[in-house]
Each structure stands twice: as structure tokens, then as C-alpha cells.
């Protein structure tokens, strides 16, 4: 979470001046910022960017691995946020949900539609993905959500956990997951759903 502050320091633009809050405090509502963005407010957009870009970029880079492609996709996501803020409905979901769902989809689209995914697949195997997930806890900087997700993930069966990890963090399709884990595709589908039900309950996400 410290990185947010680093970023504020390295981008000394006047549009950032309103964003000097501590990242440990409850941030100003992203929903409210999005509402202002929908009216064409560029300062609100800059504030929203400061708020959420490390999350967006972190997630995209996790999927794409390649740094410059991750930057490109991050740009796409923020352009999409700018253009579609007019269609964001706070009653239907939080701003983070809206934005990270968009970011994840964009990253997956990039993997599927480009050589990037294939290049990446050559370098990274199943074991690396799952191992990487397990090892993130060693990183200096982890998120609050990380602990919760780690605990929840531990409640899954091995197959559920591998399937969910490969799909979400690897951006692999269920047919790819099926090939990688050498289980039938129907099994992958049901494990992904079982796994999500378990995670939902463990994480206390209201259904």
C-alpha cells in the first residue's frame, strides 16, 4: 500500500494536489470520483487514477507478465473508465469491482488475442503459476486482501485451487486449464464453480 504514496511523489502535477491522503485511511469514495468523472471532471479522473492504478497495473502485470504490454493494457483500461464512467451505476456494484473486472477482462482479452499469451505460456508452466501464488506472501508488500484470500484458498481442494489460480491469475481458458491439469473440461467447469462458491463463502461475500 506504500506504493500509492511513492507515486504521488513522482507525479508532481497540480491535478494530484487533492489526493494527498494517507493510504492507510479510508480513501475518498471511488464511486463519488467516478460520478464526477462521468461529468467530464479530469481532476477527479486523476484522483481516481492515483487511487486505483497500482491495483489495476499490479493485476494486469500479474496476468501478462510483460511490462510494456501491461502498460498498454492499463492505458486501455483507464481510457475505458473515462469513456464509460457515464454508464457506471453505483447501485449495481462498487467502483473497484467495476474497474478490476474490466482490467481482468482486458488482460485476458490481450492474452487470448495476441502472441503475448503464447509467448508467455512457453515460459511459464502450471507449477510456476501455482508456486508463484504461494510465494507472494514472502514479498515485502502484500495487501490486506492477500491474507484473507490465502486463508480462503487453503480451504479449496487441490484441484479447485489449481483450476481457479490458473484461470484467474493465469488467464487460461477452461480448455487450457483442462489440458494443463489433465482433467476433463466438464470437471474444470464444475471445479471452477465449486471453488468460487467455497471462496465466496470463505471470504464472506454476500450472495
Amino acid at each position: 500500500m506504500q506504493k500509492k504514496c511513492d507515486m504521488l511523489g513522482t507525479v508532481p502535477r497540480e491535478t494530484d494536489s487533492s489526493k494527498d491522503h494517507e493510504s492507510t485511511q479510508l480513501p475518498p469514495s471511488k464511486e463519488e470520483l467516478l460520478g464526477r468523472v462521468a461529468l467530464g471532471d479530469q481532476k477527479a479522473f486523476a484522483a481516481l487514477y492515483d487511487e486505483i492504478s497500482p491495483r489495476v497495473f499490479g493485476l494486469i502485470r500479474r496476468l501478462l507478465v510483460d511490462h510494456s504490454q501491461s502498460e498498454e493494457v492499463t492505458q486501455e483500461v483507464f481510457l475505458e473508465i473515462w469513456q464509460n464512467a457515464t454508464r457506471y451505476e453505483p447501485t449495481k456494484g462498487g467502483a473497484s469491482t467495476w474497474i478490476l473486472t474490466m482490467a481482468h477482462r482486458r488482460a485476458v482479452d490481450r492474452i487470448r488475442s495476441s502472441q503475448a499469451g503464447r509467448d508467455r505460456d512457453l515460459k511459464i508452466g502450471v507449477r510456476d503459476f501455482v508456486a508463484e501464488y504461494d510465494n507472494v506472501s514472502d514479498a515485502v508488500e502484500i495487501t490486506m486482501e492477500h491474507e484473507r484470500v490465502k486463508v480462503a484458498m487453503a480451504q479449496l481442494t487441490e484441484l479447485q485451487r489449481q483450476a481457479v489460480t490458473l484461470a484467474y491469475y493465469g488467464g487460461f481458458s477452461h480448455s487450457e486449464v483442462s489440458a494443463m491439469l489433465k482433467v476433463p473440461i466438464g470437471t474444470v467447469k464444475t471445479r471452477l464453480r465449486d471453488g468460487m462458491i467455497r471462496l465466496r463463502d470463505e471470504l464472506g461475500v454476500a450472495s
Binding site: M7, R13, G40, S113, E141, D194, V205
Partner: protein, 278 residues
């Protein structure tokens, strides 16, 4: 097992992004028919977002923010949706496959005060000129049960305004930089330049209009060596974009003066704004 039960099973894979294109579409159609499926998916989507939130945040390079801010400054926003129904025809253009550059074109005329007709016209900016592919940024996102469904506007092929193309090229350069300053007399100017391309552009918000016998003129200023870089007038809609004529040399200051109609060979007034590019 009925077909709906089958589709129901896809909620997990959908939320995790594991479906292929055709299954994704099939599932999205199914969602429109089932309240229960939407509710389950909403919870799964929140769950997936938790997985996303658990990844280590990584601060993007500072240059990315500058690039994005320059882009959004000249990118139109979509009109609010009147109908949330995405037809198949609309979805056809949503696929970002083979898109080399998914940055939206910018509508230099776009302002929050524009009329509905202008907004409609702005849609045409989501075009695909020969060498700048845009497409996917036009994808709209609607919410069904807390999850984002991709749709897109139809994207008729149309040439994009040269100023916007120039600006796109400059701000897409690997070494693109920007600086901003207030304009004396009103408005805020941003210069975006690439030393590599030897090009620069100004984006000025709320620049006051001049009397008809006057014009704004751009200058490259290198000490006492001042080179004209073209004239322009203020856009009535509040967002003026002008790519400078000629070549920018590294370290030039970009200046704007008010000159008699037709422009001058040397500045005849004090600059209303001068922005160093070093």
C-alpha cells in the same frame, strides 16, 4: 441436466474469465433471462475481485499517468445508456482481436455541455482509419447483476481529424512528455512533445476566442531564435488542439502570441503562454 443447468455451471468460469468468446456470449444471453444467475454471478464477481485485490499492487511508471491524462483530455465520453440491451450486431465489433493500438480517437470538440446531436456525432470518432486501429476502446460496459458485460458501439470507418492523429502519434511516442501552464487571458495549455519525433502539440482548454482580425500563433523559441509554428483559432467548444508546424528542437520553448490575422513572421506581442520542453 437441462441446458440452463449447464449454463448455470459456467458462472464460476465466467467470473474467472475462463470462458472462450462464444461461451461468454452465450452465458451473457442466459444472464439476461435469469435473476438467480445474475445474483450468483454478482457474488462470484465480487469474489473474483477479491482475488484481484490480493495481488501485489504495482505503481505504474509516472509517464503512464501523463500519457493517460493527455489522452482523456481529448477523448469523448460515451453518452449514458438509455437501453442496456446489447444486440448481437453491437457485440460484433467488440472483439479486440488484431487491434494493434486500442487507444480511442479523441474528439477535440467534446465538452460536457455538448448537445445530444453532438454526442451522437462524437460516436463517429470511434473510427478505424487505415493506420490507427482503435476499436476496442469503444467497448462499452454495462452492468448486469454486478458484472460487466462488454458491448460496443458500431464503429463506422471514417478518417480522423489530422490534428487528433498527430496528437495521438506524439503522445504514443516512447519518449512523449508533457508540461502545462496557464494562459494569460484565460485557459490552460498543455504541451505534449516527443524529441524523438521532433514534434509537439498543444491542447488548450477554455482558450478565449479572438476578434476576427486577430489570430493565435505558435512559436518555437530557442533563446533569441524564434521560429513560427503555425496559427490557429480557439475552438468554440472549449478544447483546442493544434499540432505545431515544423520541427521541434530539443529544449525549445513553445510560445503562443496573439498576432494580426494571417500571422506574423516574428512575434509582435508578448506570449500569452510559454512552456519550456526541457
Amino acid at each position: 441436466m437441462t441446458e440452463h443447468d449447464d449454463l448455470h455451471l459456467l458462472a464460476g468460469a465466467y467470473a474467472l474469465g475462463a470462458l472462450d468468446e462464444s461461451e461468454r456470449e452465450e452465458f451473457e444471453k442466459y444472464l439476461l433471462t435469469s435473476e438467480e444467475a445474475r445474483a450468483e454471478l454478482a457474488a462470484f464477481t465480487d469474489t473474483a475481485v477479491m482475488l484481484g485485490m490480493s495481488t501485489t499492487p504495482v505503481t505504474p511508471p509516472p509517464s503512464l499517468k501523463g500519457d493517460i491524462m493527455a489522452r482523456i483530455a481529448v477523448t469523448p465520453q460515451l453518452p449514458a445508456l438509455e437501453s442496456e440491451t446489447a444486440s448481437d450486431a453491437e457485440r460484433t465489433d467488440a472483439a479486440p482481436a488484431n487491434v494493434t493500438s486500442m487507444f480511442a480517437e479523441r474528439d477535440i470538440r467534446s465538452t460536457p455541455s455538448e448537445t445530444a446531436a453532438e454526442r451522437k456525432a462524437a460516436r463517429r470518432w470511434y473510427a478505424r482509419p487505415a493506420n490507427i486501429l482503435i476499436a476496442a476502446a469503444a467497448a462499452a460496459v454495462i452492468f448486469v447483476g454486478g458484472t460487466a458485460l462488454g458491448t460496443a458501439l458500431n464503429a463506422p470507418t471514417q478518417q480522423v481529424e489530422p490534428q487528433a492523429v498527430g496528437l495521438t502519434e506524439i503522445s504514443a511516442a516512447a519518449d512523449a512528455q508533457r508540461a502545462e501552464a496557464a494562459v494569460a487571458g484565460g485557459g490552460n495549455a498543455t504541451v505534449i512533445w516527443s524529441a524523438q519525433l521532433e514534434r509537439s502539440a498543444v491542447v488548450i482548454s477554455d482558450l478565449p476566442a479572438l476578434p476576427s482580425d486577430k489570430t493565435y500563433e505558435l512559436w518555437y523559441i530557442d533563446g533569441s531564435h524564434i521560429t513560427p509554428a503555425g496559427t490557429f483559432s480557439a475552438e468554440a467548444t472549449g478544447k483546442t488542439v493544434r499540432v505545431l508546424d515544423g520541427k521541434m528542437s530539443s529544449g525549445d520553448t513553445i510560445g503562443i502570441t496573439v498576432e494580426p490575422k494571417g500571422g506574423s513572421k516574428k512575434p509582435t506581442t508578448e506570449p500569452v503562454v510559454a512552456i519550456p520542453t526541457a
